[in-house]
Subunit: 334 residues, 2 copies
């Protein structure tokens, strides 16, 4: 059954508030999950909500705190998230470093002990819409094997980059794994095989069985280069946030442990640069209109598809898996 | 014939000085090229020297300037490279923003109008060896096609990231193309076919002919994700440095045009972070010792191979292609 985004938003806010989130924080957390649904990214949408609600109930997430911020130097903010909701801690970090960045041209926030940030594009786009360049990185539980390796030793370590242009902001958001664990779970649910280059099983052998992959490790994207990028993000985040490295990380996929991964936000003042937002937009349009290898599939700019899906879903509503919808409605009725 | 690194270094310095480079600048430029040779990266080594010498002779490169730096804000340095040598302008930028970064925790330099930076690992490693996190990005001529596209519209847009650890610094350096044009040139010289997923020809069709690839476009690495990352670097550099976008870029592969690509350097004070350099080193060792998919090929950390090759070449000397060596010796004798 399709539901209107507003109905689902109210549902999520009510469930979060009922577990101690302040109205503003519940609204922000719900908005992040709804934006993922609207953009066709259900792995970062409302399917994350039941776990988050359980974490709030158990005290592993605190729906009221923004975390405690300490300026390590003029433009370097260190944040202990104090089990706060991911988007609450991140957006508060952005607002805190923004005035410093306006003066110095660049500023950074390093966050530990915050809950799952969800879709990083949300933050990169928020920065870009207000005329800033935003670079966001997160770490996670060990799910990805090194290039040439067989054990899950790296996080999926996503990075998002938002850049203003005179048209839509450019928003890149990618995990450094070849595929998300969410997509592998989805294949497992449907009983569908996975491509043989997505994952290895617990013994380290390539597998097409999604259930075997779940106890194994996902491949990094792009071979040695993607592995290198994911590893750089692993080290950067740990070095600056003081968060744990992947093999010791818990708390974004369970409701047993505090979340001890880390997150980074770098803001750069595009107005300090010499670029021209109009020429960036013209260049992106030039790419879109360039010849495609398959004439039926025009060249896309990262974010184009999400924007199209968002417009469609705003009108048509959001189709949640029946079991998820039922469990959310049951929680609401409880 | 194998030559000692010191012999080749003196040769390069003499040739650069003879074309107006100051002794210090000639030494730095030569060191960058030698480091690439020592690390087994000949595409960024002395084969770049003849073109650079020609550019110095023609006034397209200036061996004396460091460029003109302007502070756009407290931690944002904008540099007009004034046709300076790439490593001279970049290392001067690093020294200029370093004291500001020490105070503010993070600083950025955006460079336009400098010559080719060469191997970006050089700068990222220099930062990491002095306890700093260094992130370096460059753009280039249009050589790479968009994911799903067929025309060369993006630069090879490399990024390097250096992170201190208590052991060797971690140094990642990757182009966002699946392969360098240097490697395709090398296949063309040897008359060897290239894999079919490396490049398209001038008509946009996949090709195994390296000569056809040279007039076509190289694929981005890692499919849509690698393309997105390369595109983000393209936009970031242009937005901040005010440099040209790939389709309008010239001057790193010819001796006709001034170099109008751009370069970025971000320095972050690792000492402002909460990380532990020893735990990073222990984690990297844990990766190296983890089970490999091919027992004969242990898991590697980016930079491991370069370091091994460097030690071997320091002792065994450097083997240049005969034609390159002869042309350099002829220039020396002239």
């Amino acid at each position: 059954m399709r539901m209107s985004p507003e109905r689902l938003r109210r549902l999520a806010i009510a469930l979060l508030e009922a577990r101690g989130a302040s109205p503003a924080n519940a609204h922000l957390q719900a908005d992040l999950l709804l934006e993922a649904e609207l953009r066709g990214l259900p792995s970062h949408g409302l399917q994350r909500l039941p776990l988050l609600l359980s974490r709030l109930e158990k005290g592993l997430a605190d729906g009221r705190t923004y975390g405690t911020a300490t300026w390590r130097s003029r433009s370097f903010l260190s944040i202990d998230g104090e089990r706060g909701l991911g988007p609450v801690v991140m957006m508060h970090a952005m607002e805190t470093i923004r005035p410093v960045m306006s003066e110095t041209g660049i500023a950074i926030a390093a966050i530990r002990n915050a809950n799952h940030m969800g879709m990083l594009a949300y933050y990169a786009e928020a920065a870009a819409r207000s005329g800033l360049i935003g670079i966001v990185m997160s770490t996670s539980e060990a799910l990805v094997h090194p290039f040439g390796g067989t054990r899950a030793l790296l996080g999926t370590n996503p990075v998002a980059i938002g850049i203003p242009s005179s048209d839509h902001p450019f928003v890149l958001d990618l995990a450094t794994s070849v595929v998300s664990m969410g997509k592998i779970n989805n294949h497992a649910m449907r009983g569908a095989p996975i491509p043989s280059d997505w994952a290895v099983d617990a013994k380290g052998s390539p597998t097409t069985d999604p259930n075997a992959a779940k106890s194994g490790a996902i491949a990094p994207f792009g071979g040695a280069k993607g592995y290198g990028l994911g590893l750089a993000i692993e080290l950067l985040v740990a070095a600056l946030a003081g968060s744990d490295l992947a093999p010791d990380v818990h708390g974004t996929l369970d409701d047993i442990h505090a979340a001890n991964k880390g997150d980074l936000l770098i803001l750069i003042n595009a107005a300090s640069g010499h670029g021209n937002a109009r020429s960036l937009a013209a260049y992106l349009d030039h790419l879109r209109r360039s010849p495609a290898s398959d004439p039926g599939k025009p060249v896309a700019i990262p974010g184009d598809g999400a924007r199209r899906r968002r417009i469609a879903a705003e009108n048509a509503g959001i189709e949640l898996p029946q079991t998820l919808l039922e469990s959310l409605l049951a929680l609401e009725a409880a």
